[in-house]
């Protein structure tokens, strides 16, 4: 479904700041992946680059979605193809209700994919049913997007948007961070309901904790802009016990090496 090939990325405004230094990753249909790594390893950047953030520039390599390069596509065109990014820091949009945003987003994607758009009444039924995925009340729909939400509510809202927009591949950027155990269970439960044989999910996370509730098929470790190790869910447990130090010599270019 998604192939990341030798991806090199720098910051648009400062090309000397290289963040990704040759990432290779393959996500198959219906698979759940976890990408782990310490702060600054490039895992959040990878999510944003896949979604099309304009602050980054791809200097080498490619990203293929369903066999086609998406590098030249705008973020909305990528969404139309079925990509989704749950933000680490969801943006507040005061004055625009969740319902308004989601109906416009849903119908735009539906139109681009050649599916039928939903009228306000049909959409109301649909969206109300989707609320159950993250255990939210209907009043929530009339609140402004993320405005005044707690950190946990924002994360739940990201998963709710994912449930409504029904993407083929979702990157969840630290969706688990800042959640208490109850909220974490709700979010994990939501993700489990959405992920099926057709849909793929990539969880970007610091912690093994959410993997107690969501079983990943593959776990990858990123260090210094590269995927340095891949394995199954036991790798996550090992990281939890031993940290990342045992992996640092796998990073071919160490931080110090680059500075010299």
């Amino acid at each position: 479904m998604l192939e990341v090939k030798d991806l090199h990325v720098c910051v648009e405004e400062d090309p000397s700041e290289k963040i990704l230094k040759g990432v290779n990753l393959t996500i198959g249909k219906g698979e759940i992946h976890a990408i782990m790594g310490p702060n600054g390893s490039g895992k959040s950047t990878l999510s944003k680059v896949v979604a099309g953030h304009e602050a980054y520039e791809v200097t080498q390599g490619d990203i293929l979605f369903e066999g086609e390069s998406i590098l030249d596509l705008d973020p909305d065109e990528r969404a139309h193809k079925g990509l989704f990014l749950a933000f680490q820091y969801p943006v507040e949009v005061p004055g625009v209700t969740n319902k308004t945003l989601l109906r416009q987003a849903y119908n735009t994607i539906a139109k681009e994919q050649g599916r039928e758009e939903l009228d306000p009444i049909e959409f109301e039924d649909y969206i109300n049913e989707r609320l159950n995925v993250v255990d939210m009340k209907p009043e929530f729909l009339d609140r402004s997007v993320n405005a005044g939400f707690s950190g946990g509510e924002k994360k739940r809202n990201e998963i709710f948007q994912m449930a409504v927009l029904n993407p083929k591949l979702s990157f969840l950027d630290e969706t688990d961070s800042g959640l208490d155990i109850d909220a974490l269970k709700i979010v994990a439960n939501g993700i489990n309901q959405i992920a099926d044989e057709e849909k793929s999910v990539v969880m970007v996370t610091h912690y093994q904790r959410i993997l107690d509730y969501i079983q990943p098929d593959h776990v990858h470790v990123m260090l210094d802009g590269k995927v340095v190790k891949s394995g199954d869910k036991d790798l996550a447990l090992k990281l939890e016990e031993q940290g990342y130090d045992w992996l640092t010599d796998l990073a071919s270019v160490s931080v110090n090496g680059e500075q010299n």
């Binding site: 099309g52 705008d74 909305d76 949009v93 625009v96 945003l101």
Partner: protein, 444 residues
């Protein structure tokens, strides 16, 4: 050879020659106009060296010749698309400054409400009109309001007596048509809200063409004790028009004056709302929304005059600027010496969508009392890259994302307007505005 205007100083005075055609219908109005004309001769025309006029140029105004709008002989096109459904039975229409009885309706208004054309009421020597006209303008040394008075003729008069609550919003529609010549109009409104009365006024200026004219409206409103007036002004003059408007409001004890001014049209426009507290314990709101692009200039010079204790005032002035448009804001808040326990909020927020747009903003506090809470501030920002990315990652295209963000920015002002069709109309205007700004971006 074309006549050359050498002096902006004599510009308005020269136009006084049109005045004679108005005389002879009402002795009262003749005298009022005469007094206005005297003032026009004595008050200097604004100059860029004047602090209050330093950011805008009036050159476009005084370098042309104009005809008096009411002397034009034009056929009136169908204007019914501009009617508000809520005001089907409560509407006054003025076309090029002339009151149009056939377009106006009053059957939805309670019998006690007096509504009529100023010129007609003046010829009947209407006592309330004579008593109150010109009392609330309060624009000393302002040549434009004096000029308006010098041409006082047709206009809207509304009197809501004690205890009367008017449900239907009163729509005052000022239509300016296309014409072969440049012309000038001086729209005038007087609203008297007696004790414990309630009324909603929509003051609406529409230019039907792209022609040049200037309009110098004056709107006066007096609120007696416990009166509640909601006043929405919508300015959609022709894109070549010049619109320099004054609003004077007196607010008595326990009264509440709520005003929302929407600026969308005219090449050059200026609003000067002046709210004057007349007793203790009042509330007033002077919110504004400005949507300008191309080479439009919009200027708001407001005065909130807190003269007595216990007032709550609110001014949220939001501007969206695109193209080479230029927005000016100067909000003066006065708190007089004995006016304690004042709670005043003022904020000017600007959303700048282009590199060539320009914003001058100057909140101005002059406080002579010590027990007051006044918050004020001004911000100038752009559409946030992160917000755009967020919405686009949800599948919204560039136009949809921009529109949603501009709408969200503007909504805070729009959502308080109580007339639903006006809200809709404004959402529509936001839509048209963002569509246009996207077009200009693509062709740039």
């Amino acid at each position: 050879m074309a006549k050359l205007k050498q002096s902006n100083q004599s510009f308005l005075q020269d136009l006084l020659s049109f005045q004679g055609s108005l005389n002879g219908k009402s002795q009262f109005l003749d005298e009022v106009r005469l007094k206005g004309a005297e003032e026009v001769k004595n008050i200097p025309f604004p100059h860029r060296k004047d602090e209050d006029w330093r950011f805008i140029s009036l050159r476009d105004l005084y370098t042309d010749d104009y005809e008096l709008a009411t002397r034009l002989d034009v056929s009136v096109p169908d204007i019914s698309e501009h009617y508000l459904p809520e005001s089907e039975g409560s509407r006054m229409v003025f076309v090029n400054g002339v009151y149009s009885e056939e377009h106006s309706q009053a059957e939805a208004l309670p019998d006690e409400v007096e509504i009529g054309n100023i010129a007609d009421l003046a010829s009947e020597d209407h006592p309330l009109l004579k008593e109150h006209l010109g009392k609330y303008g309060n624009f000393e040394d302002d040549v434009f309001s004096s000029f308006n008075t010098a041409f006082l003729d047709d206009g809207a008069f509304i009197h809501v007596p004690k205890g009367v609550k008017v449900d239907a919003p009163i729509h005052l529609l000022f239509v300016q048509t296309e014409a072969d010549v440049n012309y000038f109009a001086t729209s005038r409104c007087l609203v008297l809200a007696d004790e414990s009365s309630e009324v909603t006024i929509v003051e609406d200026y529409i230019g039907l063409g792209d022609n040049k004219y200037f309009n110098l409206p004056v709107f006066e409103v007096n609120l007696e004790e416990e009166a509640y007036v909601k006043h929405t002004k919508i300015q959609r003059e022709s894109k070549e028009a010049i619109h320099l408007a004054r609003t004077g409001a007196f607010v008595a004890k326990h009264a509440n004056y709520e005003s929302y001014t929407i600026t969308r049209g005219a090449k050059l426009s200026r609003n000067e709302p002046r709210i004057s507290q007349r007793d203790e314990e009042v509330e007033f709101t002077v919110d504004g929304l400005v949507l300008i692009d191309g080479d439009q200039v919009s200027d708001t010079h407001s005065v909130m005059d807190h003269r007595f204790s216990h007032a709550e005032s609110h001014q949220l002035h939001k501007c969206v600027i695109n193209g080479k448009a230029h927005s000016v804001f100067n909000g003066k808040i006065f708190v007089r010496k004995d006016a304690q326990k004042i709670d005043s909020f003022q904020e000017n927020r600007n959303l700048l969508l282009s590199r060539k747009g320009l914003v001058n903003t100057k909140p101005q506090l002059e406080i002579f009392a010590d027990d007051v809470v006044c918050t004020h501030g001004a911000t100038i920002g752009q559409l946030e890259e992160e917000e755009m990315f967020y919405l686009k990652s949800r599948g919204l295209n560039d136009q949809q994302a921009r529109e949603l963000l501009i709408y969200a920015f503007a909504l805070e002002t729009i959502e308080n307007i109580s007339v639903e069709s006006v809200q809709k109309l404004l959402v529509d205007e936001v839509h048209k505005f963002t569509e246009r700004q996207l077009d200009s971006q693509l062709t740039a």
